[in-house]
Subunit: 449 residues, 2 copies
C-alpha cells in the first residue's frame, strides 16, 4: 500500500472552520432540533453530526471515524471471547413479534410498514425474535458446538415519542447486540459472566468512568440483568450508589423489587447513599428459555436424540450512545473532548502562517506528517491545518475546540537545527518541547485502534 | 494485543459440517426461497447466508467476514481519492422524495412507513435527496473546499416485486454510495473520471473479470453513466460487446438512444458483436445540477458573493451483490470459490485424525496456526479443522467445498524432522510439499485485507 498518501488536510476534511459565531450557530440549530444538551450542541456545531429528521442524525466524517474506531474495539473484544459476527435483516416479519408477544408490548415505539404485497414488517429495535428463529430454522446443532455467541453491529430503530439529546435518545441508532445460546442455565451463566467481563474491558479501554448496576429486565424479559452507565446530569436513569456498602442499582429496579434502600446498608453515623443520574450505555440480560421455547429453537443433546431448548442471553451496547455520552461526560462547555483511543484523529499539526518562509513551514509539516504516518498505527491519524492565512493561535483554538488529543506546533524553532516542536497534550492542558527524536518516540507510544 | 488468541476451530465457526446430503438440503431451501441459482444454493447450503423473509437474508459469520474484507478494500480506494465516509439516516422524509419527483417514479419499489405522528418516511434505496439536502442545510461552503466526495456503506431497501437469486436481487442489500460536489461541469467530469478509476482499481483487486459499459441513467437522472458488470448467464442485463471494434454497451441504453449496433462497427467479413448477460455490480452517474437546483444546494464562488449550484455525481457499488456475483462467476457446481483477497479465511489446516498420535497432530496444527497468525496480515485467517474423528479426506472435501484458498494437510511427514506439509492451492487444484521455512515464506506472500 506504499503508493497511498496518508496526508490529511483540514481544508479537505469537512471540518467546521469555525468562522460562524458558535453561539449563533448552535442556537439556530437548537431551534431546529427542539432539545439540546452540551454534547448535542457541540456535535452539531463542529459537524460531527447533522440532523436529518426529528431524532435522526447523519454522522459526518469526524464522527464516523470515531464510531468506526469504537466498532473495531468492540469487534476485538467480542471476537476475543469467541463472538461470531453476523448481519441480520433490518426488517422482521410482524408475525415473529406477535408470536413473542412483544408486538403489543413495544406498542407505538415499534416502526412498522407494509410491503407491496400487504405483508407487515417491523424495523427491529432489537433482534431476539429474528436470531432465535434463525437458530430454529437451521438443521439441529449438536451440544458440542455450544455456546454459540452471535453478534452484530447495526442500525436499530425506535419511534420515540419525544426524541431529544441528539444520538442519546434518537429514533435511529447504532447498536451492538449479542445473542448467546447455551446448553443449560449453568453454562449460560458462565457465558453471561464472560460477556460481562468483555464489556468491562471495552469500557475500561474507552476510559470514561462507568458504573455497573443491577438492572431492570423490562420488556426483553429474563431474570438477571446488569446495566452500564455513564454518570451525567442529563441521564434518564436514577442510579443508587454507595461507596461504603457497595450498593449499585437502578432505582427503577429497586422500586419494582420493593428493595429500595433508603440509606447506606452499613451501620454508620453518616449515610453515603447517593442518587445520581446515569446514561445507560450497555445492558446485559440472562434470558433463559423465554425465546427459544416460543420459537422451538433446540439443540441436540449428548444422547443424540433429545431436542432441548437453548438457554439464552442477550447483550446490548449503544454504539452511537457511547460516542455521545463520552463527549457529554468529557467535554467542556466550548470544546469537545474524546476518549483518546476513539478520537477521530490523534495528531493535529499547525505550521506557522504565511510569510517569507510560509511554504517551508507547510512543507515541513507535510514531511513530519509523512514521517509519522509511516508508522502503521498512525496512518490516517495525522491532520495538517493548512489554512496558512490564519495565525497559529487562531488555528490552535480550532484544534482545541475539536478536541484533537495532541497538537504539534511548527514554529520558528522547527526550522532550526536541531529542530524543536511544541507539543500540546490537549486533555491535560500541558505543553512540552520535543526534538524530532523525542517526538517520534512519543508518537510510537500513542495507542490507536 | 499479545494476549489475544488467534486460533480458530471449525467446531466453533458455525461452519456447516456437511453432514446432511447437500442435494436434499439445497432442494429443501430452494423450495422455501422460490427461486435459485448456483451461488444462492451454495451460499444457503454452506451457511454463508440464511433467509429471513422473501428477499431478505441474514449474513452469517463466513459471509460477513468476506463482506467486511470487501468493505475494507472499498474504504481504502475511496479514501485514496479523498472520499470522506459518512453515515446517513436510513429514513428519509417523503417530502424530499416528492420534491425530487422520485417518489412517484420509484413507485411501489419504495418502502414507505408512517411514524407515530403520522409523518411519512421512505427507506432510501439511494440517498441523492438526503445528501443534497444535507449540503443545502450546512452553512455555505467555499469553492476552495471542493470537490467534496462523501460516501457511505449501508443497508439499502427496494421492494422488489419478485425477489430472487438471494443477494443478487433482494429487498435489503448493502450498497456503497458516493456523492460528489463540484464547482462546474469541467471539474465534475474530472471527479467522475477519478472515481471511475478507483472503481477500476477495486474491480482489478477483486480479480473477477468485469466489463465496463456505457449505461442507462434511469430514474437517477443525469446524462453520463457507466456500468460495471460481471458476465453470468443469470444476469438481468444484456450487454453488447465486440473485441474488435471495442463496442461495450448496455443494450437497454442502445435501444433508448436508437444507437443499437447490429454488427461490429469495423468492416469485416466476420462480425464479432456478441450479446451477453451481465450482473450489474457498479454504476456511475454524472448528475450535473439536477438535485442541487431542486434543493438549493450551493457553494460560495471565488467572488465571495455568488451562490452557485453544485455540479454533482453519484456512484454506486452493490457490496452484497459483488459478493454473490463473484461466487456465481467463480464457483463450481458443488464448491464455493472466492476472490482470494476477500475469502473469509485464507488457510485451512487439517491435522491427521485420532489415533495413537492424534493429540500430537492437533497440537502441531495449533503450533502452526500460532506461527502463522503471529504475522499481523494472517491474524484470524487460519482455521484448524479440529473434527479429529474424521479422516483427512473427509475434511479436505469440506475445505474444498467451502473454498478456502489454501489447505494445509498435517500428515505423518509433518511430525518427522525435518517436517513436511502438503499445501493445496484450491483455486488451481495444485498440491505442493513444503518444509516449515517454505510454508512460512509462502504464507508471507499471501495478500490479505
Amino acid at each position: 500500500m506504499g503508493s497511498y498518501c496518508y496526508r490529511r488536510y483540514v481544508s479537505r476534511l469537512f471540518q467546521n472552520s469555525g468562522k460562524l459565531n458558535p453561539k449563533a450557530k448552535s442556537e439556530r440549530r437548537d431551534h431546529e432540533s427542539g432539545f439540546s444538551c452540551n454534547s448535542h450542541k457541540l456535535m452539531l456545531y463542529n459537524d460531527i453530526i447533522a440532523q436529518s429528521h426529528p431524532g435522526g442524525f447523519h454522522i459526518l466524517p469526524l464522527g464516523l471515524r470515531s464510531l468506526e474506531k469504537l466498532t473495531r474495539l468492540v469487534d476485538e473484544e467480542m471476537q476475543a471471547i469467541g463472538g461470531l459476527k453476523i448481519s441480520m435483516t433490518t426488517l422482521a416479519s410482524d408475525s415473529l413479534w406477535k408470536q413473542s408477544g412483544r408486538y403489543t408490548e413495544a406498542g407505538a415505539e415499534l416502526f412498522t410498514l407494509k410491503d407491496r404485497h400487504k405483508h407487515e414488517y417491523c424495523l427491529g429495535p432489537t433482534h431476539e425474535e429474528l436470531v432465535t428463529k434463525l437458530l430454529a430454522s437451521m438443521p439441529i446443532i449438536s451440544y458440542k458446538a455450544l455456546p454459540i455467541k452471535f453478534y452484530q453491529i447495526s442500525r436499530k430503530f425506535r419511534d420515540e415519542m419525544a426524541p431529544k439529546y441528539g444520538l442519546l435518545r434518537g429514533r435511529e441508532f447504532e447498536m451492538k447486540d449479542m445473542y448467546t445460546f447455551d446448553r443449560n442455565e449453568e453454562t449460560a451463566l458462565v457465558t453471561y459472566s464472560t460477556v460481562c467481563q468483555a464489556y468491562d474491558r471495552i469500557f475500561d479501554r474507552i476510559g470514561v468512568k462507568y458504573i455497573k448496576v443491577s438492572g431492570a429486565t423490562g420488556i426483553i424479559g429474563g431474570n438477571l440483568s446488569h446495566e452500564y452507565h455513564y454518570l451525567a446530569d442529563i441521564g434518564q436513569d436514577s442510579i443508587l450508589l454507595c461507596d461504603r456498602c457497595g450498593v449499585r442499582m437502578n432505582k427503577e429496579l429497586a422500586v419494582e423489587d420493593g428493595s429500595l434502600p433508603k440509606t447506606c446498608q452499613l451501620p454508620a453515623t453518616k449515610c453515603e447513599l447517593q442518587e445520581k443520574k446515569g446514561i445507560e450505555v450497555g445492558h446485559t440480560f440472562y434470558l433463559g428459555t423465554k425465546y427459544s421455547s416460543i420459537f422451538k429453537a433446540t439443540y441436540k443433546d449428548q444422547d443424540g436424540i433429545s431436542a432441548i431448548d437453548y438457554n439464552m442471553g442477550c447483550f446490548g451496547l449503544g454504539m452511537t450512545r457511547i460516542l455521545q455520552a463520552s463527549l457529554e461526560t468529557l467535554s467542556t462547555e466550548n470544546s469537545l473532548r474524546w476518549p483518546k483511543l476513539i478520537a477521530p484523529h490523534q495528531i493535529y499539526i499547525i505550521p506557522k502562517k504565511d510569510g517569507p518562509r510560509g511554504d517551508e513551514y507547510l512543507a515541513n509539516a507535510e514531511a513530519l506528517s509523512d514521517a509519522l504516518t509511516q508508522r502503521p498505527h498512525l496512518r490516517g491519524e495525522v491532520v495538517i491545518d493548512d489554512r496558512m492565512s490564519l495565525t497559529i493561535g487562531r488555528r490552535n483554538v480550532d484544534g482545541d475546540r475539536l478536541g484533537y488529543p495532541y497538537i504539534v506546533i511548527l514554529g520558528v524553532k522547527a526550522l532550526e537545527s536541531p529542530a524543536q516542536f511544541e507539543v500540546i497534550d490537549v486533555n491535560r492542558g500541558e505543553t512540552t518541547f520535543m526534538s524530532t527524536d523525542q517526538l517520534m518516540t512519543f508518537a510510537d507510544s500513542i495507542e490507536t485502534i
